[in-house]
Symmetry: C2
Subunit: 328 residues, 2 copies
């Protein structure tokens, strides 16, 4: 039986989920829920409907897993505990520091209503977290390194766009190659923020804006840029649209550790992602965990879970026999 999917929120992530459903034969998109007037939202899947979020509870028995595609700042802390009352849910909550609190909130309701809620699914948190856990369990003595990029940071791009005189902007986070090489050499380096990543900004100015002043304001912006080596390029709106309209991202998780009676042998575990579309890759991870949520729920499990709690086989549409024969 197919897994019937609902999507709440139809931005980049919601559209990504819609595309990912299409790539999985055992999945079916049933409905997209929106806070907007449904008549103004047009989706790609002909067999699915668009509904107002106010009517979502009516879909209780028609959807197996609801995928929450809102933001972590204000949407998900409210939405995930609310909608796990009615559905098995998946979210991509990515405010690392608030995960324990979010987990507890979702867990209480999910257990009470016998649903499964899998939170913080995506690539970081998500696949990167999994790789940190596996690598730490295997090499208990060692050091962890996470690098992000090359990719677009939405938050940093937004911060530049809020500066007076800036019409549009895109910011790329880039790992410092020499830092990566130092990690790979097994020397277990320690880095300052500046040594790990650089930031590259492509900025379109409003007419008459002062480029020198804008550049200075970007480079000295606390938290966002002041601790980094930042490069600013002023370009035309046409060039921005032509060369910088994608949302690529990626990064690396490395663990460098030792084994042996006298810790004489070094090992390096490295996981890397190069993604043309950050939201579409995240969506693809969400759909794999939706499959798991549906199965766990059918087994009678309930409560809040993370990627750490899900046995890998639950993510695949193949049976245990098929997996052992083809992938082990």
């Amino acid at each position: 039986m197919n897994t019937r999917i609902g999507i709440l929120g139809y931005g980049n992530l919601g559209r990504g989920v819609e595309c990912a459903v299409r790539q999985n034969d055992d999945m079916e998109l049933v409905a997209v829920f929106t806070r907007r007037d449904p008549a103004t939202v047009s989706i790609l899947t002909e067999t699915a409907v668009v509904c107002h979020v106010a009517d979502i509870a009516d879909w209780k028995d028609k959807i197996d897993v609801l995928i929450l595609c809102g933001g972590s700042a204000t949407d998900l802390p409210e939405q995930t505990p609310e909608y796990v009352k009615y559905f098995n849910v998946i979210d991509s909550f990515d405010t690392h520091a608030r995960i324990p609190e979010h987990f507890a909130n979702v867990d209480a309701v999910a257990k009470e209503t016998s649903h499964v809620g899998i939170i913080s699914v995506g690539w970081d948190p998500g696949m990167f977290s999994l790789n940190r856990l596996y690598a730490n369990a295997i090499l208990p003595e060692g050091n962890d390194y996470t690098f992000w990029g090359k990719g677009v940071s939405q938050g940093h791009s937004d911060a530049i766009r809020r500066i007076n005189g800036v019409k549009n902007a895109k910011q790329y986070t880039i790992p410092v190659e020499s830092a990566l090489e130092a990690v790979r050499s097994g020397s277990n380096p320690e880095f300052t923020t500046r040594e790990k990543h650089t930031r590259e900004c492509f900025v379109v100015l409003e007419e008459g804006a002062d480029a020198t002043k804008v550049e200075e304001e970007i480079k000295t912006m606390p938290n966002y840029f002041a601790d980094y080596d930042t490069t600013v390029h002023f370009i035309s709106e046409e060039e921005l649209l032509k060369n910088h309209s994608g949302i690529p991202h990626g990064g690396l998780v490395l663990r460098s550790g030792v084994t042996g009676w006298d810790k004489e042998n070094k090992h390096l575990i490295e996981y890397s992602l190069k993604l043309d579309s950050n939201p579409e890759f995240t969506s693809s991870v969400l759909i794999a965990y939706a499959r798991a949520a549906h199965r766990l729920s059918k087994e009678g499990q309930s409560g809040c879970k993370t990627v750490f709690d899900i046995a890998p086989a639950y993510l695949s549409s193949k049976s245990g026999d098929e997996l052992r024969a083809s992938m082990l």
Copy 2:
């Protein structure tokens, strides 16, 4: 409570497990079992004892997990179903084609005797298999690539040593860098055997042996070398011992896939290992799964399992709360 570990077989892998136990505070090595005269086997752990394998059943209640460190060709197909009668067991069975049969044999006995048996644990099968599964679940449309090396192939080194006139030899399997780059470019190449790996051999000749004849015999050896570009270096025994006595290995698992309504976005997932000691890294994976086996057994689970069936959190000595706060 600590996990009390037993080791069956004290070769490179058994010694690696002994070292890995020492790196994990919640593990304790209790006994090493051997087919040799126990008086002739000296181990590193002062608090553990060496026993003859004939007495192993006496340890039924004193060991939580027995780690089977024999070979896949003849030892494990017999040992794993036999010892899962008495213990939770872990093995590193790596004959990929025979895994389904081995799984069924172990599963039947493990269920009957209420033990957990986790088979085919290590890095391939093992961590590489996990990465194939995760990457396939996330990117259902794409191509898989596995490269091995740079590292020592024990089987190929043995094959060279069996040639007349060869005193000693070490063989390295090396991924072809241009093939790797083609995969990383997203071009989804198809490779012949020759295009993916080269083989480099370091050979010590017996006195008076014919180097040209030996080289010819290596390069044309069916299955082992004939399908590869092979380089043969003749060196002295001193040089072999000095520069080639380690057992490094490693490799890469990549998946190159597409997402988007029209499959317009490319993604690359890459996992790589660089290991100074193949047996010590494998042992470190075995110990992490021993922790999982002990926990699953305490929960009342039984039967044969693989890395696909184990939720990642079971591998870590940290609690769910700690993992969510520190690694998610």
